[in-house]
């Protein structure tokens, strides 16, 4: 049933985007489908009339007419086939032209959360492999399969005019044959499905082999043995599985084939017998026997076609799911706001499909132009705030406001004017440097000064200065002359992108995680410059950057536990102070230590600190859930307090 529905879907889609070509494909495939049967009739006429002409001298014109028709038919047979093939390619072209943009539109109208959900990921994975080709293939196969069956029935119909027994035989054979074929196809399909899990495992292993990092580890650890063991296990399972199911499928297929052979023999014997009895003319005999080879080939061909059709039809199941994905719910209509403040009002948030509440009743207000930093441990909910702010998700409760309007109600242009964001998992695009930077604001694609300015601010001007093609150099490996950047360099490009936008607020999620200390330091200085241009929201592990903000908000377990300037927070006992001390202890060397030449003291402090830190961190990680975090944090504070005194 699903097969029929999916075939119908493919046909509908093809007709939607290329109606005339689809029609041509159908005609081009269907018309020659009847030629097989017509051929029998024509050959029969030629022979019968030829004989009567040889005997009586009459009816030559009938022979010539039939012969002419036969020649014409054979000519058009192949012409039609060619034509259909060409039209099928045109269909592909039209689908690429018109269907692909529609898919893009649909993708763009999906709720963002869909992209992060696992189930949808599988669908999108399929969509990402140019799905219109699958659709077209399914359509082609459907047409060919239906035509195959129709033309076989037509040929058999012509046979039936020769002898009714052929029809009776068919009625007897058809039902079990169809059943066997269907069961066989099903079996083959199951074969494919059963092995997907193992296939995914093998794919995972192969992925490891392609990664130079993994190969380095494997070589040094000599862990190839484990890899091989796993591969052998998976491939052995696949082999056993295919053998088991394959043999069953072959049995079913074989039974169906034997039935068909019996039926062919039956046809031959019936017709030969009838000839001897005189109930069949010589022409009929010649035509029927002569076309048997074509018939058998057609039958075995179309059984394969149908199997293939079923496979392709089940294969495009993902597209149906894709079409049914929910549309995004953000309205994006309001194009005016009263002021430039950002506010969270009692926002709670849980990622769709998960249990854990990541944000719990978070409320804060950031005034226009303010410089704010969010700090906190891994999993405290910092990045989630950024995602909500960007309007990617709808909060469970509460409101995320930009200028007093809910962010998901703002038009995209206005929201972009308000906010530009560098995400933690920023992307590098394998395009030109110019494009990569200008993606922050496509309007300035050809504005060299703007782009260079942004790169400069992100401390990445060497990326174009040292290159022959300057801003138009290719990044990544897609083009021959392209070169990949290091992670740190990509990150600076991403930051430059944010500077391009010139938005009221610049949101930077972990902007310096992958850059080296010098670059990091320079970037902070540049951030300071930017801070005077616009409001900034910064999320960082490196508390040094937080220090420059007007205001620091400390997140812990999805709540804001501290809020204030660096000085205020350092004055109070709390999570911030302990984190800051831990980090600065790497760099703080008070005079006492410098005088003391031995590194003994250094290590002793480290050990002292690490022991305390060690336990508290462990607690933090294991209880990430949040509620009990309070204890962890406060314990840590006292511990750290002592550490501070020691120093």
């Amino acid at each position: 049933m699903k097969v029929v529905r999916n075939c119908a879907l493919a046909t509908r889609l093809v007709f939607q985007y290329a109606p005339w070509n689809a029609l041509m494909v159908i005609l081009g495939i269907f018309i020659p489908g009847f030629f097989g049967g017509l051929q029998i009739i024509l050959v029969q006429r030629i022979v019968d009339n030829g004989i009567s002409w040889a005997e009586t001298g009459l009816g030559l014109d009938a022979v010539v007419r039939a012969g002419g028709l036969l020649v014409a038919m054979l000519f058009f047979w192949i012409v039609f086939q060619r034509f259909a093939m060409y039209q099928a390619r045109v269909v592909q072209v039209r689908l690429t032209k018109y269907m692909a943009p529609d898919i893009m539109k649909k993708l763009n109208s999906l709720e963002y959360s869909a992209f992060e959900s696992n189930d949808v990921q599988n669908i999108l994975q399929r969509v990402s492999t140019e799905p219109w080709t699958n659709i077209r293939l399914c359509f082609d196969r459907t047409v060919i399969s239906v035509q195959g069956i129709v033309s076989i029935l037509f040929v058999l119909g012509v046979y039936m005019t020769i002898s009714v027994w052929i029809g009776i035989g068919l009625a007897l054979v058809a039902v079990p044959m169809v059943w066997l074929d269907f069961a066989g196809t099903h079996c083959f399909h199951r074969l494919f499905q059963d092995t997907t899990e193992e296939a995914r495992r093998m794919k995972d292993l192969k992925q490891l082999l392609q990664s130079r990092h993994a190969m380095y580890e494997m070589k040094v650890f000599e862990s190839q043995a484990l890899m091989s063991e796993k591969w052998r296990e998976a491939s052995g399972n696949v082999e056993a599985q295919i053998k088991k199911t394959g043999i069953k499928a072959l049995f079913l297929d074989g039974a169906s084939k034997i039935l068909s052979v019996i039926y062919y023999v039956f046809i031959i014997l019936t017709i030969s017998y009838s000839l001897l009895q005189g109930t069949v003319t010589l022409g009929q005999f010649v035509a029927a026997i002569g076309s048997l080879g074509t018939l058998t080939r057609k039958v075995s061909g179309s059984s394969w076609q149908v199997t293939e059709m079923v496979r392709l039809a089940l294969d495009i199941d993902f597209y149906r799911d894709f079409l049914n994905l929910p549309e995004r719910s953000d309205k994006r209509e309001v194009n005016e706001i009263a002021h430039g403040d950002i506010a969270f009002e009692n926002v709670s948030f849980t990622y769709p499909g998960t249990e854990r509440q990541v944000l719990k009743n978070v409320t804060f207000r950031i005034k226009a132009g303010e410089r704010v930093a969010f700090v906190g441990e891994n999993g405290a909910g910092k990045s989630t705030i950024v995602k909500l702010l960007a309007g990617l998700y709808e909060p469970d409760a509460g409101r995320v406001l930009l200028g007093g309007v809910e962010v998901r109600e703002l038009t995209e242009e206005l929201r972009r004017k308000m906010l530009s964001v560098v995400f933690q998992d920023f992307q590098g695009y394998e395009l030109t440097l110019r494009e990569n930077v200008a993606f922050g604001n496509v309007r300035y694609l050809n504005d060299n000064d703007q782009i260079k300015d942004a790169l400069e601010l992100a401390d990445a001007s060497e990326l174009y200065l040292q290159e022959e093609k300057g801003l138009d150099r290719n990044l990544g490996h897609l083009e021959e002359d392209g070169k990949d950047l290091s992670k740190g360099q990509w990150q600076r490009v991403a930051v430059a992108r944010a500077f391009m936008a010139g938005a009221a607020f610049c949101v930077l999620d972990e902007p310096t995680a992958s850059v080296d200390p010098i670059a990091e330091s320079r970037m902070y200085e540049n951030f300071a410059k930017i801070f005077y241009r616009s409001g900034t929201i910064m999320i960082s592990h490196r508390l040094a950057s937080a220090k420059m903000a007007d205001r620091i908000m400390v997140l812990d377990g999805g709540r804001i536990v501290q809020d204030g300037s660096h000085e205020q927070l350092m004055a109070a006992e709390g999570l911030y102070r302990s984190m800051y001390l831990a980090q600065s202890s790497w760099y703080k060397e008070d005079s006492a230590m410098e005088e003391d030449t031995s590194k003994e003291k250094g290590t002793s402090i480290e050990n002292g600190a690490s022991k305390e830190k060690g336990t508290s961190v462990k607690e933090g990680v294991s209880k990430e859930k949040g509620t009990s975090m309070k204890n962890g944090a406060s314990k840590e504070n006292t511990g750290k307090g002592k550490g501070g005194e020691q120093r």
Partner: protein
């Protein structure tokens, strides 16, 4: 051209060799099937001609002959479906073998590839192509296509002979039709393949762009920054170009095909007319005329089949080529000396290293000594060659000039696998194996995989004990890919360190483990690592100069050279690069 042809023959040889080795049954099965089918295909028109000649003058004298021929006909019609059953069985058999034979062969080779080659996108490309090739069972497909093409060609030729046996006048028409069809097909196929190959880089680009619309990370940026329309435009423009080109190719193929069809059918019509004329003049019996007609229509069908399978053959061969191309990638060279564990120091002298395709030396004359038992920290800015140095040190990369000596032994000459027994590492991009937690740790030393006590000790020492209890034991599967438990970045980091420490080696390398970790965890991990590796020679590569205070020796790298080397205290006041980095980082605190 000559070399390409040569390669083609060599690869065919490889392919046949592998088929003989992996699935000989399939080769013989398919060969038998093709021979039987081919023979039947040739026999059938002859048999039909005989029957048709008999039929008009059937009488008691030849009724037996007629009956015998009908039985033969039953065989001719009945055997091919059984043959196709065998062929199908063979492909199932081949499918079942493909992962464990062709896949395994690739897997084995991939493990031996030179590490540096994996930096080369061409190699990765070759890997993916080869992978696609064997997953499609291209070798067996090519074999089938080859057999079927030969078989169809034989049937065509024999049909020409059958027609010729009735009258020589029928030969030229049949032959001409046959040849024209054959050559136009080959030509179109080649033309199409050439264009397609020419487009491969554009296609790659299209594929890449399209991926961006479906990837979470890209979509997020496209939406917030608003370059969706631009990407769309880029894709549409590029794809239109490709599509237009392909359409032209197809149109040309169709035009050419039509010319071929017209010639072929003209020949066919001429032949029918000749046969009719011969029959009218009494040179051909009615039965023979009928046999001619059936032979002609068989020829038409076979010719179409020939064209199709030939296309399939070329397509499959293309894949086979890609599969074997992969095996041409360079494999790792290893030394021949037995490794003698170093007692004094590792000495690096004047080492230069350049990545293939790179335009400058990643290491530009590095000199460095690491004494046994020393804890060394290497610092430097991005791209200064720290990670490369660590890989040269462990012998994973071989320096183009200069030498790396373990005591007196040059790393080039040491049998690599013996050297690796003494080295452990926590690499920068450590691997998240989708295996069990235990496997993720003991993978570093499989010889001790059963040593649960050691495993437990390591787990406790890096502070993973709670985690192990939390997720339900050491055997719990990690990674959400296969429904396992997903760890946070910090937890993975600890697993990686546990992995590095599980292997109890005299030398351990830790490469920049702390990016994207929060400060408390970073602090914890680095100090813990230092503590746990006391007494072992350890090399730590880090951005965070803070850790240098606790090290025996600090090495500062810049532009592929070691610019400073000494203790933290000495370097800090030396007023060089180290002091600069230190102050840059420290001034914020």
């Amino acid at each position: 051209m000559n070399s390409i042809k040569h390669k083609g023959i060599r690869y065919m040889g490889f392919c046949i060799r592998d088929i003989l080795r992996f699935t000989p049954l399939m080769l013989w099965g398919k060969l038998t099937v093709s021979i039987v089918e081919g023979a039947l295909g040739v026999w059938m028109p002859i048999l039909l001609a005989q029957i048709f000649e008999l039929v008009p003058n059937l009488d008691a004298s030849n009724i037996l002959l007629f009956q015998r021929n009908v039985v033969f006909l039953c065989l001719c019609v009945g055997i091919p479906p059984l043959c196709s059953l065998v062929a199908r069985g063979m492909s199932v058999y081949n499918d079942s073998k493909k992962e464990s034979c062709y896949g395994w062969r690739m897997f084995e080779h991939a493990q031996k590839i030179k590490l540096e080659s994996l930096e080369d996108p061409e190699v990765l490309n070759a890997f993916q192509k080869a992978n696609a090739a064997y997953e499609q069972a291209s070798a067996s497909k090519m074999l089938s296509a080859l057999f079927i093409t030969t078989q169809a060609a034989l049937v065509c030729i024999s049909t020409v002979f059958v027609a010729g046996s009735f009258s020589l006048w029928l030969i030229p028409g049949t032959l001409l039709g046959f040849l024209v069809h054959l050559f136009t097909n080959i030509y179109s196929e080649k033309h199409r393949a050439a264009i397609y190959r020419g487009q491969s880089s554009v296609r790659r680009r299209l594929w890449y762009l399209w991926q961006q619309f479906c990837r979470r990370e890209s979509v997020k940026e496209m939406r917030t920054l608003g370059f969706h329309e631009y990407m769309k435009k880029l894709w549409v423009e590029t794809s239109l170009r490709v599509v237009q080109e392909m359409q032209e190719v197809e149109l040309r193929a169709v035009k050419l095909g039509c010319v071929a069809i017209i010639i072929k059918n003209a020949c066919y019509a001429a032949n029918v007319a000749i046969a009719l004329y011969l029959m009218v003049n009494g040179e051909l019996a009615v039965g023979e005329f009928a046999a001619c007609l059936s032979a002609f229509s068989l020829l038409q069908a076979e010719l179409t089949r020939l064209g199709d399978t030939m296309g399939n053959f070329f397509a499959a061969y293309h894949y086979v080529e890609e599969y074997y191309d992969f095996f041409q990638t360079e494999t790792e060279e290893t030394g021949h000396e037995d490794y003698r564990p170093f007692q004094k120091e590792i000495a690096i002298k004047g080492v230069h290293f350049r990545y293939c395709g790179g335009d400058r030396d990643a290491l530009n004359g590095v000199d460095l000594n690491i004494r046994k038992g020393e804890q060394v920290v290497i610092v430097g800015v991005n791209g200064s060659g720290k990670t490369t140095l660590s890989k040269v040190l462990t012998g994973a990369y071989l320096a183009q000039s200069g030498e790396v000596r373990y005591d007196e032994q040059d790393v080039k000459d040491i049998r690599r696998e013996e050297l690796y027994k003494d080295i452990s590492l926590v690499s920068q991009d450590f691997v998240h194996y989708n295996f069990s937690l235990g496997e993720n740790i003991f993978i570093s030393d499989l010889s001790r995989r059963k040593d649960e006590k050691h495993l437990q000790e390591i787990v406790d020492s890096v502070g993973l004990k709670e985690l192990v209890q939390g997720i339900g034991g050491i055997g719990t599967l990690l990674g959400k890919e296969f429904g396992g438990c997903e760890l946070s970045g910090g937890e993975w980091q600890k697993v990686a360190i546990a992995r590095g420490l599980f292997k109890d080696s005299p030398l351990i390398v830790l490469d920049e483990p702390t990016s994207a970790l929060d400060p408390l965890i970073e602090y914890d991990i680095l100090t813990k690592f230092l503590e746990l590796t006391k007494g072992r020679t350890s090399v730590i590569i880090s951005h965070r100069v803070g850790i240098c205070r606790a090290a025996d020796k600090v090495v500062v790298m810049k532009d592929g050279r070691v610019v400073e080397c000494g203790t933290h205290e000495a370097l800090k006041h030396a007023g060089g690069e180290y002091g600069r980095i230190w102050r840059e980082q420290a001034k914020w605190y």
